[in-house]
Each structure stands twice: as structure tokens, then as C-alpha cells.
Amino acid sequence: MGEWECATGCFKFASMALPQIITEWFSAQGWDIHPHQHMMVARSGDPAVLLIAPTGGGKTMAGFLPTLAELADGTHEGIHTLYVSPLKALAADIKRNLRRPVEEMGLPIRIEDRTGDTSQTVKKRQRVDPPHILLTTPESLALLTSYEDAPRMFAGLKRIVVDEIHALAESKRGDQLFLALAALNALVPDLRRVGLSATVEDPEAIAHLLARHPDPCEVLHADLGPPPDIAMLETDEAPPWAGGGAKYAIPAVLEEVKKHKTTLIFHNTRAQAEIFFHNLWLANTDSLPIGIHHGSLDRVQRDRVEGAMVRGELRAIVCTGSLDLGIDWGDVDLVIQIGAPKNVKRLVQRIGRANHRYNAPSKALLVPANRFEVVECVAALDAVYDGELDGDPRGPGPRDVLCQHILIAASSGPFEADALFAQMTSAGAYSDLSRAEFDACLDFCATGGYALRAYDKWRRLQQRPDGMWALRDPRAAQRIRMNVGTIQDTDTLKVRLKRSRGGKPLGEIEESFASSLTPGDTFLIGGQIVRYEGLNQMTVEVTRRADKKPKIATFMGTKFATSTQLSQRILRMFQQDTWPGLPTHTAEWLGLQRTLSRLPQPGRLLVESFPHDGRENTVVYGFAGRNAQQTLGLLITKRLEEEGLNPLGFVATDYATLIWGLDRVPDPAPLFDIDALRNGLDTWLAGNAVMKRTFRASATIAGLIERNTPQAKKSGRQATFSSDILYDTLLKYDPDHLMLQITREEAERGMVDFGRIEEMVNRTKGRIDHVRPGRITPLAAPLFLEPGRVPIKGLAEEKLLEEEAERLLETAGVTDQTVTPN
């Protein structure tokens, strides 16, 4: 323990010994208490401790041991420990895994979970009579802090355990959680915080988020265990040039499944998992029990797969990030990663899913889906061998989450602005927040913060004569609670079998995908092909269909960015004369790229132009990272639009930007004039599709757009209009508004990176190689199947529409635009 404890004198639990009842239980299991578990008990009096441990290292037990010790004598009343994890499933799993030892030790401890799945009755009871240990998620915790009775409920709280904190720290869910912790700390000043994390590149950054600023936070490291046994899967057939299905690898994958007890087959997106599962099932002539698990499937279906997994009934599970985190699923002895791991850190964490035994190496196989991914996989393997973890720092806490938190605070009762500011800046992510920034958020929550003071009469928050801030209409608290959360789901619709076929729920699909369906279309969900029959009260009705090739459901999936470190490894590999480290097929494929076009080089800029699929395409291989490539895409399409070249859209990866349009791009060199690009930046910043997308997300979190309202719940249909209209209106009449400032801040962390464009332009200064190969090139092929395409709403859209209108009317036997129905 450190000297500061003596100085503050607040923490009395230093160097606690474990009660005999617990040590005896461990011996009875034949288990040793790991050194890091001892360390956690010894440091249990610290205000904040971060434990870094590999999966399977008894991390969760390490987090809970001090709680069990403190509760062992049965004298504690009310809630003692709050456990927060990113997944509902994880909370449920920990409940099972914790109850068993607690029961066997005969400890008088009540353990319950509370998530979106918990019934209203139980939730109500928990607020009156909370368990000793409550397991929950950031969203449920934020909601709990919004109730008037929060002070009573959390009165006895001593410890908070944040599990998988590395996953939360990457997103706004983490920012929300850390603000909620700050609110709890205001209720319970001597609260102690524990973070449990997988291996990360920068533990200090996470420690800063976890601790109450400026409390210190010790970082403890568990033994990392032996290095993983990891390789690329060898297949008879070579991977294709493009695509993400990895269908070619199915026989080899099946062979591996047969050789192992339980295999997890990870995919980067839900759509890919669906296709792969479908193909795997078709090839599964031995009828091995194989399941599918991802976030868009109905909960009943997911529960069934999880249950079968725990009982060891499944030989393989095709899954996505939904199984990424620490759920203990029994005897997994192989992890297969389909598609290139975009990030070495995530790869190492996934590999940890295999073999949950401490000190046993985990076994994993990488399956590249196409030849570019072979290069990526080899680069990732090299990075794993070199022990290199990647990641980019996140920057200060976003203010949209701050606005939501102000509304949450107001829902729990009147507050003082000074106190709330002090509370919020005690969260590490917001420790640098200025008072002016906070005041702007408070004004936004109170009045909308518009230059035109239209809502002074209808304020959301009012300052009372005693200086406290309170909701004008206390009923608004309900609306605020309905919109708590930072997860930006695309709008989805539930999918059910037709009522006449049992009405069974299957899962959900994106609304935009649903609107593209016409009756008779087929798509995959949960591994089965279904036929779209129609929309019935906001539910997609389908029937089972076994005989057709499906359309593919476009599930929302996180698009993982390849880390800068990996991209640079790849660019270095391209410079080699030959590629002895690569499989022959991929070395030949790179050779072909060199013959047909060129390979990108650090000191030059490769630009390819070729027609494909009825459009003119231009690919810019900048290797400047996704953000810079995306910004480049926006700037160049803007210039193409100005020059009348009718761009239609673009997509950016970490290596390249693919732009398509109606007209051929003559000479690309003038497009990279740095002054012209910089001039474009300001005007461009305002009106593009990426900004609108960012605005939508931030405005929803900040409470400007309400996803859920009591009225909408009643009618089932929301009379909503596009958030683009709000953005355009704000930009036109109130360009300095806080919401636009936040949008710019958010866009800058996710997108702009103009510095890297400048660096790229300076690095390649005029050395632009413009190649017209006349056809699609090996390196360009994968870009055509890349998700995250950005549409350009310009003249090309009008042209297409006019063309289509003419065609449709001609088909209908009418030749001019005058409408004279007979």
C-alpha cells in the first residue's frame, strides 16, 4: 500500500486477510489462489486498482474476492458491490459462476443481475431492497442513477467492479459509465473502484479513466501465460481475389472442427457469419452439431445456443463480437478467425477464448477471406510474434454524452451547477473540461441553446430561486429515461415467421434493408433462408424457404479499422522483390498487380482508373489510414462534382479510397493540389454525408433527437423526419450552435485527419503514378465489397433519376413527362 493512504486515512481495508471459509473452499477445489488474486485482496483498500490479466486468468474471481471477504460475516446491510460489464449475457453468466462458490462456501450473500432483460417487477423490488452484489450494464446503471431514490438504494455501496474495461474504454458506453461512477461517488464518497482488463497497449490510459480524478490508480499485472499457438489455416484451394465469405476454406475448417472438442469461428460482421454458417451447414455431411450466435438473432435463439454450448453439446459456434468477451463457455480448444484481424490487440483477446485454463497456450487459426487478407494475416502474425499491440489514444470525453448525463442528473432531482461540474470533471475522460464548455452543455439542456431564444418559455431545465436546476415538467424525466444510452443501433425491424406458420421470432434486420425488399425476395437469418411476405405492424413477416439462393441481410456491424501499425507493416511488405513469406498464390497475385499496374510505394502516390460494372472507378492508394482516406474521398468527390464529373460515391479503407461515378477522371494530378484541398475543407466540412451521420448519432445521445417517446410507443409508428433536415436547418440558421460544434469535434476524431493527407501529399509531392489498366486490378478488387460506402448526393443522382423516370414511363408506354391519366 502507498503512503497516500496514511495521508488521507480514508481506506481501512488495507492488507485484509481472506477468511478461512474462502481459503478452505479453494483447497477443496484443489485450486491455488493465483498471485494476482492475492494482490487484489491486499490492495482492496485502494480507491482504484486496475488488473490486467489474460482471459482464463481467474480475473473475475480476483475482482470479487475482496467483496466475498468483506461480506463473509453477514453484517453488511444493503448493496455492497456493483459489477458492470459491457454485455447482458456476461452479467447473467457471472451470476451463475459466482453463485456456485458462494453457495458452496455457505456465505450469506445475495447476488442478482439487472439488465434490459430483467422484468419490471424485479427491477422495482431491487430499488427498494437491493442485493449485496448487483450485476449490471452501463446503460442500466445510468438509468438507476436517474431515479430520485438513488441515494437510498446505493447508501451501503462499497465497491464497483468494472469488467472488460478495455472494451468499454473504447466507446461512449465507457464515457457514460465513468460519468455514472462520478455520480455514485457523489452519493458514496469512499467508494472503491476496480477495473478488470484484457491485455492492452496503454494500461495507464485506462487507469486514468477508471480512477476518480485525481486519485491514483495502481496497475497490477497478472502472469501473461505462455505465448499462443497461432497460424494461418492451410487450404488446398487458394483464396479468391475479393470477397469476405471464405467459402473456399469450408472443407479445411470442417476438418479442424472434427479434430477439436469445441471450436469458436469468429467473423468480423454478422452478414459474413450468416453466409459462412449457411455454407458450412451445406457442407456438413457428418451432421456435426454447429450453432450460430450474433447480436441480431432473437434472444430465445441465442439463449438456446448458449445453453447448448455450456452443456458441451456443440462442436462449433459461428459467431461475431457477441462472443468476444469473457463469458466462460466451457471447453473451447480452438479459435478460428475468418477474415483478417484488423487489429492485433483484438486478435490476441479473441485467441484467449480458446482454452480457459491458466498457463495453457491457446490455439488459433487465421483464415484470410481473400488474397489481400493473406497479406494482412501474415502482417498480423508477425506483429503477434513481435509482441506488438496497437491502438490509438481516444482524446477527451465527448460532450454529447455529457449533455445526456446532465439530463439524467436532472431526472434524479434538482442539482447545483457548481457541484455537477465538480462531479463530472472527476471523471478521467472529462478532467480537462472547461467551465465554459460545461455551461454551454447546461444551456443546451435547459433551452436548446439557440441564437434565437425561442424556448425560454418552454425550458426543459429551470433555475429555481434557490439557484438549483430542476426539470420544468417533472414528467419529462420519463422521456429522458426512455432515451438513456449511447449505443447507436440502426433502426431495425423484428423478423417473424408468418402467424399462420407459428409466428416464431427469428431476429431483426435493418429498416433500410427491409424497405428494399419486395414480397418474394429471400434472405438469410439465423442460418436459414426465408422469403419476405410483407410488413405487418412494423414486423417483417417471412416464411421458410429451402430452395433458393438468398439475398443477404445487411446487418449492422462494426466496421473495424486496421491499426496504423498493421498498415505500415503491409506497405513495407509490398516493397519486397519477392515474397517467400507468403503462400505462392498470394505472391503471384501481388506479382500480377505489379505487372498490370504497380504496387503502392511510400514515396509515390498510386492512382488507378478503370471502368467496372457500368461505372468509372478511381482508386487512390494513399496508405494514410481510414480517417484520412475517408476525408480524401469527400474532398475529391467534391472537386469532381464541381468539375461536372458526376461522382456517385466512395468507400475508404486504411489503404485506399475507391471513388465511382458516371464520368471518367482525366488527369488526377490537379485533384491533389494541397491548397485546393485545404480550401475545400471548410466548405466541405459543412455539408457532407459523413457529417450528417455523425450529427445524427451525437444529436440522439445529447437528447435533441428522441428515439423513443411515449407517443411513438403508443402508435407503433413514429412520425419522424430525417435528421438531415435538422442538420441542414441548423447549419443554415445557427451555424455556431453547440450541436454543430459537437458534430465537428466528433467528426474530427472519427474522420478528418487532414494532417495525414498533408503528410501524404508532401511525401509524394507530384510523384503521382496514374495507371489506366483497362480493368479491375488485384489490389482494387477487395474494395468493391467493402462496407461503409458513402453516397454523394449531387447532380449524378438527378441524372440517374431522370434517366430512370424516362425508362419507366417508356416501359409504361408513355413518352413525355406530362401526366394525363385517362
Binding site: 433551452t447 436548446g448 441553446g449 439557440y450 434565437l452 425561442a454 424556448y455 418552454w458 426543459r460 420544468r472 415538467d473 414528467r475 419529462a476 422521456r479 424497405s515 428494399s516 419486395t518 414480397p519 410483407g534 457500368g614 461505372r615 456517385l648 460515391g649 437528447g703 435533441l704 433527437i705 428522441e706 417517446t709 412520425a719 419522424t720 423526419f721 430525417s722 433536415i725 435538422l726 436547418t729 441548423l730 443554415k732 440558421y733 445557427d734 450552435h737 453516397p791 449524378a796 443522382e797 438527378e798 440517374l800 433519376l801 431522370e802 434517366e803 430512370e804 423516370a805 419507366l808 414511363l809 409504361a812 413527362q817 406530362t818 401526366v819 394525363t820 391519366p821 385517362n822
Partner: protein
């Protein structure tokens, strides 16, 4: 004007790209579903504070159409105000602007479901307006003939060779015409919605708003239209 000419009950009309309808022989401009005061109403009810500029934006666009057409008569086809309190709560600037637009013109407010009841603005207030062979009302009736209505805020999705484009639209056949919403903060109901099926025959067209008013066969569910 980039409009699209229409004949309804032997009357020549032009659907304007802005979403307004022009009747040249009567020198009449018709707009529907302005929903003035929408953001104020949401805030009053304890909801979010939307940017309070949509009333000005809607009136600016209406003003531009009035200038371009030099209309002598104006029909507002209902839901002109988001509710009666919104109508009463209009700012002085908005009142002046509405008076300026009304000056020298015959102005007819048709009652909608959002603004059923008297509003204190100049002009005629009616439930519906028969004018020659045409009838203007807020919500389409089953047996309407030569009927011009609003209410539904129709929009259409058109699949082009490169992408699907969605636009607010007029829906029209030999019986009736349904107008798109003119208000800035208004969503839309897809022309695929079954509510339109009994209202429109197989020859129905959608006229898309945008840079030019463009007619296409009304996009709808093929099975239902039969």
C-alpha cells in the same frame, strides 16, 4: 419552372419541384401540410428542443413560390399549423411575414386534423373548397373525384441503376391528387403503404419533388395494386 404538367378532371395543373401545386387558369397556388410551429409544440409538450427555424424556412420557400408564380389565390390544404396553440403562439415576426404574403391575395385556410378549429389569421377558413370541377380538402375521401388533398405526406422510393433515391412526391391518378408535405419538419409515408392502395388505380403516377418535378409510375407493392 421545371414543373410537371398534370390534367385532372380536364383541369391543367403543374406540380412544382418545391412540392407546391400551380393552377395557372385560376392563378392559384396550393400547398399542403405546412406544420408551422412544430418545434414549438414539441418543446411545449416537454420533448426535445428542435432548431426553432422551421417556420421561417417554410415561409421563405412559400414566399419564393409565390413570387415565381405571382399567384393571386392561395390554398393551404390543412395542417398549416402544428396545433391551434402553435397558431396562437406564432411570434410577431411570423405574423408579419404571413400578413406580407397574404397582402393582395385571396387566401384560403382549409382545416386539417392538426388545426381543426378557428385560427386568428386573415383569410377564409373552410373545411373544404369546391372550385370548378375540383375539390380541395385535407384528407382524401373514398369516393372523391377531382379531389386534391394532403395529410399523408407521401414519399416514393425509386430504384435507379446505381442507387435507390427517396423523395417526397405527389401521387396522382384520374380521380385524385395527394400533395406532398410542404413544411420543413415533415416526414413521409412511403407510396408502398397499403393505405394508398384503395385510393389509387393502376395508372397512378408519383411526381417526385427535387431539382425538377419528375413523374414515374407510382412505386407500390405489385401484388396489392392488381
Amino acid at each position: 419552372m421545371n414543373g410537371c404538367d398534370i390534367t385532372l378532371s380536364n383541369v391543367a395543373l403543374t406540380a412544382l419541384p418545391s412540392g407546391a401545386l400551380w393552377w395557372p387558369d385560376m392563378c392559384l397556388l396550393c400547398v399542403s401540410d405546412l406544420h408551422l410551429g412544430k418545434s414549438e409544440r414539441l418543446a411545449r409538450r416537454g420533448g426535445a428542443h428542435l432548431p426553432p427555424y422551421e417556420t421561417k424556412d417554410t415561409l421563405d420557400r412559400l414566399s419564393a413560390d409565390l413570387e415565381n408564380t405571382n399567384a393571386r389565390q392561395v390554398v393551404c390544404l390543412g395542417d398549416s399549423f402544428d396545433d391551434l396553440d402553435a397558431a396562437r403562439g406564432m411570434t410577431e415576426a411570423t405574423r408579419l411575414e404571413i400578413s406580407r404574403l397574404q397582402a393582395g391575395r385571396r387566401w384560403i385556410w382549409i382545416e386539417g386534423n392538426h388545426d381543426a378549429g378557428p385560427v386568428e389569421f386573415e383569410g377564409e377558413h373552410v373545411f373544404e373548397l369546391p372550385l370548378g370541377p375540383l375539390t380541395f380538402r385535407h384528407i382524401a375521401q373514398a369516393n372523391g373525384h377531382g379531389e386534391i388533398s394532403g395529410h399523408y405526406h407521401p414519399k416514393a422510393h425509386v430504384r435507379t441503376r446505381a442507387k435507390t433515391v427517396t423523395r417526397a412526391c405527389f401521387l396522382v391518378d384520374s380521380q385524385r391528387l395527394i400533395m406532398p408535405a410542404f413544411g420543413t419538419y415533415t416526414g413521409g409515408l412511403s407510396s408502398h403503404d397499403p393505405v394508398f392502395d384503395p385510393l389509387f388505380g393502376v395508372d397512378a403516377r408519383a411526381i417526385l419533388t427535387g431539382r425538377r418535378a419528375l413523374a414515374v409510375p407510382m412505386p407500390r407493392n405489385a401484388e396489392r395494386a392488381a
